[in-house]
């Protein structure tokens, strides 16, 4: 899994704590976490395309959350960055080689291997979808009181 997911989640948390209605530029987000600003800009674009972020062009522009943090799940972020297709892709190798000698009816149902991986993928996605950005923000604030305010002050200009 690419590191863009980690960057995106931290950025979205920053925007969760940031002053509502105040766009935060990419440069400010990059310095907050010691990231290269141009590359971070490239990583945030899928989030805009997915409708999680709103980009405000021009001076005093930047990025805003498109929805309340309670309405954005970790699954949404992962899907936006990594793509919607599951990690495991079945190539149907059971139908190649000796499988060509069997009738087509033998392959009517899903491959058992693919089914097992899909079941695990479903619970993984369910676990990610069960946690919202608000949940993560609350957890971080609970572990380190005052962290949200600290982040908001950093992005204030």
């Amino acid at each position: 899994m690419g590191q863009g997911v980690e960057w995106a989640l931290h950025v979205l948390l920053s925007l969760t704590w940031s002053t509502p209605g105040q766009p935060v530029p990419c440069g400010s987000l990059a310095t907050a976490y010691g990231l290269p600003a141009p590359y971070l800009s490239k990583q945030l674009q899928p989030l805009v395309h997915a409708g999680l972020l709103v980009s405000v062009p021009g001076a005093r522009g930047g990025f805003l959350l498109a929805r309340p943090p309670t309405e954005i799940s970790v699954m949404d972020v992962v899907t936006a960055i990594e793509g919607p297709e599951p990690a495991f892709r079945c190539a149907e190798i059971r139908q190649a080689g000796m499988g060509a000698e069997l009738p087509r009816s033998s392959f009517a149902t899903e491959c058992a291997v693919a089914a097992a991986m899909r079941r695990a993928d479903v619970v993984w996605r369910r676990a990610l979808a069960a946690q919202s950005l608000a949940d993560l923000a609350a957890e971080a604030e609970a572990h380190a009181p005052g962290y949200g305010a600290f982040v908001r002050d950093h992005h204030a200009r």
Copy 2:
């Protein structure tokens, strides 16, 4: 996720159905699924190192299951091929940039982002570990009766 996982699972299913005590060579496994034999050989080596397969050298050699199919889980196979480290790796970017201004005590607990991804990873691994090779073999046989015998006959010489 690499396709080696799919190959390994199908190969292990073949060995599950194959005659016990009879080693199956890599070439026979490759032709069974239309795979390039030399590359399949490379993909099976991690399974030998992990202790899931036993390789028998020499003429009439091949691969054997090191344990009964009920004692091998899908998780074991994925771990052997992809490695033990989780898909998401936390780079602790919260400590870089503005995080350097905060006291070390703020980072005593696990990063909230990493914790969320780890929770999902745990349920994913748990789902994979809950299914054994015997379960997959039974499922495939149920969907296509006689498939196991067909595979065994193919590998018989």
